[in-house]
């Protein structure tokens, strides 16, 4: 471990590589986490199938790429298909559990996650898949730092998509209605908003965002039917750290999570790379707990 830290000091350019890789993948974590925050904040549904939605999006992009459609063009298609899928899931499952207690919705989405994993496995097999972009790879500093163009493009796409979603929430009528429902569903209903439709739309929008994140993941990482859980956990970590409805927080937390993963992978070894995600969750929860206690005391 100390050798690895020493290595970072000796060759500071390695930090650039690690930070860049963290930034690229962190932007996708942030995107998926934003979708989770949306559903959580508006509907109070904690979607445990979030990561599996991401993987589904990835498989869509990958499948299209095997048919000769470039994964970048596969991305919007994945979004549209996942939007439709999200709507179906809402009508079939989520609508029935939305006003039940928290455990019902957790169990329902957990079950959904298992079903998605197994169906993907049946359909595509357990192999790892990648959607190849065939873009160039740039080297800097004598090859010590490399950046694949696709990673850079995926960062731009993630940022663009996030901006679009934020703009949509701010300026469109639907976005306003979603925010109104999030603030007070009953009041929104009284004002004539069809909250059921809002919920359906929100859930589908989240699925579409996941579809996009998944398409990006399939281009810069790898996908496999059972990799969803890792993405679910990451989304939860980011949302818990940032708090609901805190968009800049989600972005910062997502990017830092990407960086933290890569740094801990470098310093502690790859076996602790994903461990760091869970460790962060524990730390974040502990810190929140302390903060809230202080808050409550102040109220007293």
């Amino acid at each position: 471990m100390l050798d690895n830290i020493y290595l970072l000091i000796q060759a500071p350019l390695l930090n650039v590589q690690i930070l860049l890789d963290g930034l690229f993948v962190g932007s996708i974590f942030a995107l998926a986490a934003y979708g989770l925050a949306l559903v959580w904040g508006v509907m109070n549904v904690k979607n445990l199938a979030q990561g599996d939605f991401v993987i589904m999006g990835g498989y869509t992009a990958w499948l299209l790429s095997t048919w000769g459609i470039h994964p970048i063009f596969g991305l919007p298609i994945a979004m549209v298909l996942m939007f439709g899928f999200g709507w179906v899931v809402y009508v079939v499952i989520i609508r029935r559990v939305i006003d039940k207690d928290m455990f019902t919705s957790l169990l329902a989405t957990f079950g959904l996650a298992l079903v998605i994993q197994q169906l993907l496995n049946l359909a595509f097999g357990p192999e790892v898949q990648v959607a190849e972009s065939h873009f160039a790879i740039n080297s800097f500093f004598d090859g010590l730092v490399t950046v694949a163009n696709i990673k850079f493009i995926s960062l731009l796409l993630a940022a663009g998509l996030a901006a679009m979603v934020v703009g949509f929430m701010k300026f469109s009528r639907m976005g306003q209605a979603i925010r109104a429902t999030a603030q007070d569903a009953r009041a929104a209903k009284v004002m004539g908003i069809d909250t059921d439709r809002i919920y359906a739309f929100t859930f589908s929008l989240n699925a579409a965002i996941c579809g996009a994140a998944g398409a990006l993941i399939s281009m810069i990482w790898v996908i496999q039917p059972f990799f969803g859980i890792g993405h679910s956990i990451r989304s939860f970590v980011v949302v818990t750290a940032a708090g609901l409805g805190n968009l800049p927080g989600v972005i910062i937390a997502g990017l830092s999570l990407g960086g933290a993963e890569l740094y801990s992978g470098f310093v502690f070894g790859a076996e602790l790379q994903q461990f760091s995600v869970v460790a962060l969750l524990v730390i974040v929860l502990a810190v929140r707990q302390v903060q809230q206690r202080r808050h409550r005391q102040a109220v007293k």
Binding site: L7, D21, G125, T146, A270, E271
Partner: protein, 411 residues
């Protein structure tokens, strides 16, 4: 009586009846002129692809033996048949299904499941019931140092998978006038029984040559990113990079080695073929070294199938959709051949006699020579190392079987 109580009664009766059928007298292990083998193997779940490869291998072995007149025991010819159950890639299920095969189906002769994990779950059960098992897909060496007496494996154990790459690196260092102990090795192994065995074998051989490990990372089970490990590789410039993490490890590594332009003179990894890295990543995978249990280009030869090449052709003709015959299929077929050989030499269906015959197995097959150690693993067949050269897999080590020269350093 309400409908629901009627339903409940009907259900109870039905369950009871099913239970009675289940405990009905077990079928014999040899039915008429058919010898019944049993296997709980993965058709669904994470091992499904290779499970099905193995099943195809078993089926081809059975088909060929039956076509050639079957198994001759006591002057009579018997046909072979296999009962399969799907273990859903979970070891617990493999164990349950093994009990079912033994107790309900009366199977007395086993073919192995796919993977070390499921085989590990199964071995204690075949031991308990004294049922011999010839397995072809569990390579972990922990299967063979427990003193099990009823397990026989046709494949090379996992610690041999990448050990030959160390020997090759030492050979090349010597040729270049360097001391083998100066070779720096970077290791990335998944944290699972199989890969850790591979790692143990590599470490043993490194010790032999006095080589140093500059990186020793253990990859998590659901690994989708190796960038941190590879950044270290970039900084430390090892002479040899060895990776083992099943198909997902190979695919992730191949993708990121290309993406990060990692330049190491020698890269060796397991599961190159299973991960289809050549199809996926093309020329960037050139000069990777990949161990294999078997290759169709090897000059092995046996009675039932002829040469390895002939087996390859027959397999592709029998099962559509295979561009390459996976070694998982070849070794499965070899396991069936071992059963035939053992039955004929034992000249009996007594499990104990057949087991003794199995311990004395010494045969030449298209899959290589087969001879079991006391622990039950095959000690007569080496692991071969192939190099990806312009998209082709060519055998480069050990020199006895090599068809091509090794490209070093890789570009």
């Amino acid at each position: 009586m309400t409908v629901s109580t009627m339903f409940l009664r009907g259900l109870t009766f039905g369950v009871a009846a099913a239970g009675l059928i289940a405990v009905a007298p077990a079928q014999a292990k040899v039915e008429g002129n058919t010898i019944v083998l049993g296997s709980a193997i993965s058709f669904t779940g994470k091992y499904s692809t290779n499970g099905i490869h193995a099943k195809n291998g078993y089926n081809l072995g059975v088909k060929r033996i039956n076509e050639m007149g079957g198994v001759k025991v006591g002057g009579k010819a018997y046909k072979l048949k296999i009962i399969y159950y799907d273990d859903e890639s979970t070891p617990l299920r493999t164990a349950q299904l093994a009990e079912r095969l033994i107790k309900q189906d009366g199977v007395k002769y086993f073919l192995g499941p796919y993977s070390s994990a499921t085989t590990k779950a199964l071995a204690p059960i075949t031991e308990k019931y004294k049922i011999p098992m010839v397995e072809a897909e569990g390579a972990s060496r922990s299967l063979f140092n427990k003193g099990y007496k009823y397990i026989f494996a046709v494949l090379s154990t996992s610690e041999q998978y990448l050990a030959s790459s160390i020997a090759l690196a030492a050979e090349i260092a010597k040729k270049n006038g360097k001391d083998p102990s100066s070779v720096k090795v970077a290791m990335a192994f998944e944290n699972d029984p199989f890969s850790l065995d591979v790692r143990a074998g590599v470490l043993d051989d490194m010790k032999k040559f006095g080589m140093k490990a500059v990186i020793d990372d253990k990859l998590p089970r659901d690994l989708s990113d190796m960038a941190a490990t590879l950044t270290k590789v970039k900084a430390l410039r090892p002479d040899l990079l060895v990776i083992s993490g099943h198909s997902k490890g190979a695919a992730t590594a191949a993708r990121q080695i290309a993406e990060m332009k990692i330049k190491v003179p020698m890269i060796a990894m397991t599961h190159c073929e299973a991960a289809k890295i050549v199809q996926k990543f093309g020329a960037s995978t050139n000069d990777y070294l990949c161990p294999t249990q078997w290759a169709e280009t090897l000059s092995y030869k046996g009675a039932a199938f002829g040469t390895a090449g002939e087996y390859d052709k027959l397999f592709k003709k029998t099962f559509k959709g295979y561009k390459n015959v996976p070694y998982q299929s070849a070794q499965a077929t070899a396991a069936v051949l071992v059963w035939k050989d053992a039955f004929e030499r034992a000249n009996s269906f007594d499990t104990e006699k057949v087991r003794v015959a199995l311990t004395k197995t010494n045969m030449k097959t298209f899959y290589g020579n087969i001879k079991f150690s006391k622990g039950g693993n095959n000690i007569a067949k080496p692991m071969v190392l192939r190099q990806i050269q312009n998209g082709e897999f060519n055998v480069v080590a050990p020199s006895e079987w090599a068809s091509h020269k090794v490209n070093w350093p890789r570009k």
